[in-house]
C-alpha cells in the first residue's frame, strides 16, 4: 500500500518526535466547508419549494386570485382515478427502469472496463444517448416505433424473419408503457455505466490481481471482489434511477403525452397537466407534495439499506 507524500512545507517540523500531538479537530472538517453549499441550496431550492407548498392548500389556477381551501385538494386526490392509475404506471415504470437500466449499465461498464481495443470509442458510443435531449430522444424513437410493418423496428424484425413479433409499440395500451421504459433505459444506460465505471476505476488493480493469483475465475472475482467494492456506485445508481424513474417526465410526455388514453400517464404527467394545461395549479401542488413525500419515503428506506451494505464491505 503506497502512502501519499505531502510536499514538504516550510513550517513543518524537520523531525517528528515520538510523542503524539492531538489532531487538529477530531470531529471532522469545519462548518465553513458546507456553508456555501447550504446557503446556495437553501436559497434556490428549499425556500422556494417551501413557499410553493403553500399553494397546495389553495385553489390557485396559476393566474389571478386564489383562496384557501384547506385540505380539499388532498381529498380530491384520493378520489382521483386518473391519479391513482398514474401512480400504478409510475411504480411499474420505475421498477423496470431501475432493474434493467442498472443491469445493462453494469454490463456495459464491465465490458468497456476490460482491455478491449475499442473501449474509448465504445464509451463514447454508449454515452452518446445521454447527450441527446430527452425530448429529441422521444422524437427519434417514434421513428423506431413506427407501427407500419416495413418501417423502424417492425421492419427490422420482418427482415430477420421475426415478423410475428411486430407490434404497435406506442399505440397498444398494454405495450406503450414498456416501450417508453425501453426508450428511457436506452438513454440512461450510459449514465449508469459512467457511474459504475468510476467505481470500477477506483478498485485497484492489485486487489484484482491478488484475487486472480488466489485462483479465482472471472465470475468468482466479480462476485466476491468487484461487486462488493462497487457498493458506493451501486447505491448511487440505484437511488438515482429510482428517484429519476419516479419523477420521470420529459420522455413520457414527449413520447405519448400520457396516452393512448391514460395508458402511460404518470404522476409527473398528471402534475404537469394539472398545473399548466388544466389551470389547477393549487391541486397540482398537492399532487407534487404527495409525490415528493412518496419519493422521499422510498429513498429513505433505500438509503438506509444501501448504506448499511456499503459499510459492510
Amino acid at each position: 500500500m503506497s502512502t501519499p507524500v505531502l510536499e514538504a512545507s516550510p513550517t513543518a517540523p524537520p523531525e517528528r518526535p515520538a510523542r503524539r500531538r492531538r489532531p487538529r479537530n477530531r470531529l471532522g472538517p469545519p462548518w465553513l466547508f458546507v456553508a456555501p453549499a447550504l446557503l446556495c441550496y437553501g436559497a434556490i431550492v428549499l425556500y422556494p419549494s417551501a413557499s410553493g407548498l403553500l399553494y397546495a392548500f389553495t385553489d390557485w389556477s396559476g393566474l389571478g386570485d386564489w383562496s384557501f381551501v384547506g385540505l380539499r385538494n388532498f381529498d380530491s386526490l384520493l378520489h382521483d382515478d386518473r391519479a391513482l392509475g398514474a401512480l400504478r404506471n409510475t411504480l411499474l415504470l420505475t421498477v423496470a427502469i431501475v432493474v434493467v437500466q442498472n443491469g445493462v449499465g453494469l454490463l456495459l461498464a464491465l465490458g468497456v472496463h476490460a482491455r478491449i481495443k475499442s473501449r474509448m470509442l465504445l464509451r463514447a458510443v454508449f454515452f452518446a444517448p445521454v447527450v441527446v435531449s430527452p425530448v429529441m430522444v422521444a422524437f427519434l424513437w417514434k421513428y423506431v416505433y413506427n407501427p407500419e410493418p416495413n418501417a423502424g423496428l417492425n421492419g427490422l424484425l420482418g427482415a430477420v424473419g421475426l415478423g410475428s413479433l411486430r407490434q404497435d409499440w406506442l399505440g397498444d395500451p398494454s405495450l406503450a408503457l414498456w416501450s417508453v421504459a425501453a426508450m428511457v433505459v436506452w438513454q440512461h444506460a450510459g449514465y449508469s455505466m459512467v457511474i459504475f465505471l468510476a467505481g470500477l476505476e477506483g478498485i485497484g488493480k492489485d486487489v484484482q490481481e491478488a484475487a486472480t493469483i488466489d485462483g479465482a475465475g472471472p465470475v468468482k472475482r466479480f462476485r466476491y471482489v468487484t461487486w462488493p467494492l462497487l457498493a458506493p456506485a451501486t447505491t448511487i445508481n440505484v437511488m438515482l434511477s429510482t428517484i429519476g424513474g419516479l419523477k420521470l417526465f420529459d420522455q413520457v410526455f414527449a413520447a405519448t403525452g400520457g396516452g393512448p388514453g391514460y395508458a402511460t400517464e404518470t404522476l409527473s404527467t398528471v402534475l404537469y397537466k394539472e398545473a399548466f394545461v388544466f389551470g389547477r395549479y393549487g391541486y397540482s401542488t398537492a399532487v407534487a407534495l404527495v409525490l415528493a413525500l412518496f419519493v422521499a419515503a422510498v429513498s429513505l428506506v433505500q438509503i438506509r439499506y444501501l448504506r448499511a451494505r456499503e459499510d459492510q464491505t
Binding site: S2, G64, W169, L170, G257, P260
Partner: protein, 434 residues
C-alpha cells in the same frame, strides 16, 4: 504521488491562497456579463418590445417585426419562440410572476391554457377594441376574440379543418372528390380496393384525434343549433344528448370499415403526413397550416390539394370547421403598452394580414385584391363567405375538456370504451369548475 506541479486545480493540490484567488476570479467572471448587460441597456427600454410566440408564429412574425422596424417606427423587437407546450408553461409562469413580455401568443376563445378568455378574466390583457381591423371580425367568431364584449385577441385570419389528399392517388384509383358522406364512403371503398389506405390517421399525436370529430360536429350539431355552446354553458344541452353522439358514431364507422391505417394510435402526425405524401394513403383530415408539411413529403408538391370534409348527406348541408388562427395579445401591465398597441394596429393593416396568412396557409379576416389565399383553400371560400362554418371547441368552459376528448378518441380507437361512456366522461369534465 500528489506532487504539486503548478498546473492548477485538478492535477494536484493547491494552496489556500491560490484556491481563494481562483474562486474570486470566477465570481468576478460571473459578474462581468451582468456589468455588460447593465451597460447595454436593459429591458423597459421604450423603443424595444419583447414578444414571446409559439413556433408556428415565427415565420409570419419574423417577417412582420422586421417590416415594422424597417418602416421607421423606431421599435426593435426581442423575440422568443418555442414549441406550444413550453410557451404555454413559461408564459403562465411569467404571467403568474408578474414578469410577462409586452406581446405574447394567445389562443382564441376559451378552454386552453393560454386562451383569450382565461387570460382576460385575470385582467392581464390590454383592450384592443378600438382598433380599425376589429371591424373585420366575422360575427360568428366574435366570441373567439372577445371577453365581455371587449376585443383582446389579435388574429390575422381563419384556419380550416378539411381533407388533404394526394391527387395522383385519386387519379390512379379513378376516384373523384366526394361531396357527400355516402360519396366519401364509396370513395374510401374504391381506394381500399386499390390497395391504398383511404384515410391516414395519426392519433398518436394527441391533438390530431379531435379533427374528424370537429369536422363532423360542425355539420351535425352547429348547423341546426348555432348557439349550441351557449346552451351547453347554460346547462341546457349535453354532449351525450346531441349530434356529438352521431358524429362519433360516424367517426367510428370509418374505423369499423377499415378505412384508417392499421394502428392509428401508434401512428404519429409525421407518419400520417408521410403516408399521404408518398402515396401510400389517399387522404388525411387535417388543419390547413399542415399543407406545407404535406407538400414537402410529396414527390411533387402539386400532388397535394384539399377539399371540405363531406360531413353531411348533401353538399349544401356541409358545414366546415373554421376558427381563428393562434394570434397575439398585449400584456395589460406592459411598460410599453402604447408602442405595443401601435404594433398591433400595424399588424391589422390589410397588407400585413395578407402576409401573415400567406405564411401559415390561412384565410385573411378580410380579403382584398392582393390577398393570396392558398390555392388548396379555394374550395373553402364559398362556405366561409356563406357562413357555413362552426368554430367547434373554442368555447369550452375549462381547459380539461379538450384533452379529455383526445383520450376518449384514443380509447375509442383502441375499442376500450363505448361512445356513450366517452360522451358521459366529457360531460362530467365539462361540468367541472375550473
Amino acid at each position: 504521488m500528489t506532487a504539486i506541479d503548478g498546473s492548477g486545480f485538478m492535477t494536484g493540490g493547491v494552496s489556500r491562497a491560490q484556491f481563494l484567488r481562483i474562486l474570486g476570479g470566477l465570481a468576478a467572471g460571473a459578474a462581468v456579463p451582468g456589468l455588460l448587460s447593465a451597460c447595454g441597456g436593459g429591458s423597459g427600454d421604450s423603443d424595444s418590445l419583447s414578444l414571446v410566440g409559439v413556433a408556428d408564429e415565427k415565420a409570419p412574425l419574423d417577417l412582420l417585426t422586421k417590416a415594422y422596424t424597417d418602416s421607421g417606427s423606431g421599435i426593435t423587437f426581442k423575440t422568443s419562440y418555442a414549441p406550444t407546450d413550453q410557451v404555454q408553461t413559461s408564459l403562465r409562469a411569467q404571467l403568474g410572476g408578474g414578469n410577462a413580455p409586452d406581446i405574447h401568443a394567445l389562443y382564441p376563445g376559451s378552454g386552453s391554457a393560454m386562451s383569450t378568455t382565461d387570460i382576460a378574466k385575470a385582467g392581464l390583457l390590454a383592450d384592443l377594441s378600438g382598433q380599425a381591423w376589429t371591424s373585420a371580425i366575422p360575427a360568428n367568431l366574435k366570441s373567439s376574440f372577445q371577453y365581455e364584449d371587449k376585443v383582446y385577441l389579435f388574429s390575422s385570419g381563419l384556419t380550416v379543418i378539411g381533407t388533404i389528399y394526394n391527387k395522383s392517388v385519386f387519379a390512379a384509383a379513378g376516384v373523384q372528390i366526394p361531396k357527400t358522406w355516402s360519396e366519401l364512403i364509396a370513395a374510401c371503398e374504391k381506394l381500399k380496393q386499390a390497395g391504398k389506405v383511404p384515410l391516414a390517421l395519426g392519433a398518436q399525436t394527441q391533438w390530431v384525434t379531435q379533427l374528424i370529430t370537429y369536422a363532423l360536429v360542425a355539420s351535425h350539431v352547429y348547423r341546426d343549433t348555432p348557439d349550441f355552446d351557449d346552451q351547453m354553458i347554460a346547462g341546457k344541452a349535453t354532449f351525450a344528448g346531441s349530434g356529438w353522439k352521431q358524429s362519433m358514431a360516424l367517426y367510428m364507422e370509418l374505423r369499423d370499415r377499415g378505412f384508417f391505417n392499421d394502428n392509428p394510435n401508434g401512428t404519429t402526425l409525421e407518419q400520417q403526413t408521410a403516408m399521404v405524401g408518398t402515396g401510400q394513403a389517399a387522404m388525411a383530415v387535417q388543419v390547413a397550416p399542415l399543407l406545407p408539411a404535406f407538400r414537402d413529403a410529396a414527390t411533387s408538391s402539386g400532388d397535394i390539394d384539399m377539399f371540405p370534409f363531406p360531413s353531411a348527406d348533401t353538399a349544401e348541408q356541409v358545414y366546415t370547421w373554421s376558427g381563428a388562427n393562434v394570434g397575439i395579445g398585449v400584456h395589460a401591465k406592459s411598460k410599453n403598452k402604447d408602442a405595443a398597441l401601435k404594433f398591433v394596429e400595424f399588424l391589422g393593416q390589410q397588407e400585413n394580414i395578407n402576409t401573415w396568412c400567406e405564411a401559415v396557409a390561412a384565410i385573411p379576416l378580410k380579403r382584398d385584391a392582393s390577398s393570396k389565399v392558398d390555392p388548396a383553400l379555394q374550395s373553402f371560400l364559398p362556405l366561409i363567405d356563406a357562413g357555413r362554418v362552426a368554430p367547434v371547441g373554442q368555447r369550452w368552459p375549462n381547459p380539461e375538456v379538450q384533452p379529455t376528448h383526445f383520450t376518449v378518441i384514443q380509447d375509442l380507437l383502441a375499442k376500450k370504451i363505448t361512445i356513450d361512456d366517452g360522451l358521459k366522461k366529457m360531460d362530467e369534465v365539462y361540468r367541472k369548475s375550473s
